[in-house]
């Protein structure tokens, strides 16, 4: 193995040594707890928009935990974190341009 690749492998191994098993179990427990909260909220007869906001908020927290800890993004270099996440969020945000059209259909009754 070349020295350069060896250095990279060593760095990856070092990242894994930094977090113990217990951290993964804590994240797993938090994810299960948030899932249980979501199911509980489903049967609380909340307004749909309010419920959607809470559920999506919890989903974003769960996504952040999975990406950060399970996918090890927390331990990657900052350029990688910012470039990948910002580009993804920007692309997904651009897709929201279609939503006003959906509201137009339902409010104007366009068939």
């Amino acid at each position: 193995m070349e020295a350069f690749q060896l250095a990279i492998a060593e760095r990856v191994a070092e990242q894994h040594r930094h977090h113990g098993k217990s951290q993964f179990f804590v994240v797993w427990g938090a994810l299960l707890l948030m899932t249980a909260i979501e199911v509980y909220l489903t049967y609380q007869n909340m307004q749909p928009v309010r419920m959607l906001t809470i559920l999506m908020g919890l989903s974003l927290i769960k996504a952040a935990l999975i990406i950060g800890y399970f996918m090890h993004m927390k331990y990657e270099v900052s350029q990688m974190k910012w470039l990948t996440m910002c580009s993804l969020v920007a692309c997904l945000a651009l897709m929201m341009i279609f939503f006003p059209d959906a509201w137009r259909i339902i409010t104007l009754g366009v068939k």
Binding site: V12, W28, T35, T42, L55, M56, K62, A63, W103
Partner: protein, 265 residues
């Protein structure tokens, strides 16, 4: 024109790796980013349909919600076993790595079976797509016969979104099987294909969908024949990235599709 000759005497002469990590990992991240947009588009299509359609159905009884919650628990647990497999591989513990990978596959398989059961139940109650084979009796007595006729956007987006996710989970199980067992996994995959094909009735979409496993077995055989290798910790980590991604996507499908469409009596 004179030929130019480049010499690289030292590893340092090469261009440094992007983001200081290995290229397989960068490649997987780029694939996952593009796949995120695929799922993003499907989730937006579902949301668009829901916003623009009055009388959007809420067909999921508590039985379905419990089933989907157990499926979520399976996926979350599989993510835990996956990180433990990556950790074991980095520490050079080959036996533990294989066991954790097999545990991850078992959870993934449990998810697919529960999801398949849910699909079959909905189809038997009349929630179907024109491309699905006709199920005897489902068009007259099923609870959701009118839903499929009056709001066709619901079955189209529901089966499109969850079907794409189920396909990803199935291929993820195959991917982990190849990493864990290499060539030994091919006969297991063929047995799974036969079990799925012969064990489902001819009117079930899974009867034909099972052939995905046969296709996967052929592709895996070619890959393993062309490039036989012992997968190292970087391969396990890259496979883990893919697996966590399918878990991540479900964290949005579960509340948006199931919980927001729960039937509350």
């Amino acid at each position: 024109m004179a030929d130019a000759t480049l010499t690289h005497d030292l590893p340092a002469a090469y261009e440094p790796s992007l983001f200081g990590t290995y290229s397989k990992k960068i490649g997987m991240w780029l694939f996952l980013l593009s796949d995120s947009l695929t799922f993003g588009a499907l989730l937006y299509a579902y949301s668009y349909g829901r916003i623009s359609t009055p009388n959007w159905p809420t067909p999921f009884h508590s039985e379905s919600i419990v089933n989907a919650t157990v499926m979520t628990a399976f996926l979350l647990t599989s993510s835990l076993t996956m990180v433990l497999a990556v950790r074991a591989s980095v520490q050079g513990d080959g036996k533990a790595q294989r066991l954790w990978l097999l545990a991850t596959m078992a959870c993934g398989l449990g998810f697919v079976i529960l999801h398949g059961r849910e699909w079959s139940k909905l189809i038997s109650e009349g929630l179907t797509l024109p491309v699905f084979p006709h199920m005897p009796g489902s068009e007259t007595t099923g609870e959701f016969v009118n839903v499929a006729k009056t709001v066709p956007q619901f079955p189209a987006t529901f089966f499109g979104l969850t079907g794409m996710h189920m396909l990803h989970v199935t291929l993820g199980v195959v991917y982990l099987g190849v990493v864990a067992l290499r060539r030994k996994f091919i006969p297991i995959l063929l047995v799974l294909w036969l079990a799925a094909w012969l064990g489902t009735p001819a009117y079930s979409p899974f009867h034909y969908g099972a052939h995905i496993l046969l296709l996967a077995a052929i592709v895996c055989s070619i890959v393993l024949w062309l490039k036989p290798k012992v997968y190292d910790s970087s391969d396990v980590e890259v496979a883990g990235l893919y697996w966590h991604f399918v878990d991540l996507v479900w964290m949005f499908i579960f509340p948006l599709v199931y919980l927001m469409s729960a039937k509350i009596l």
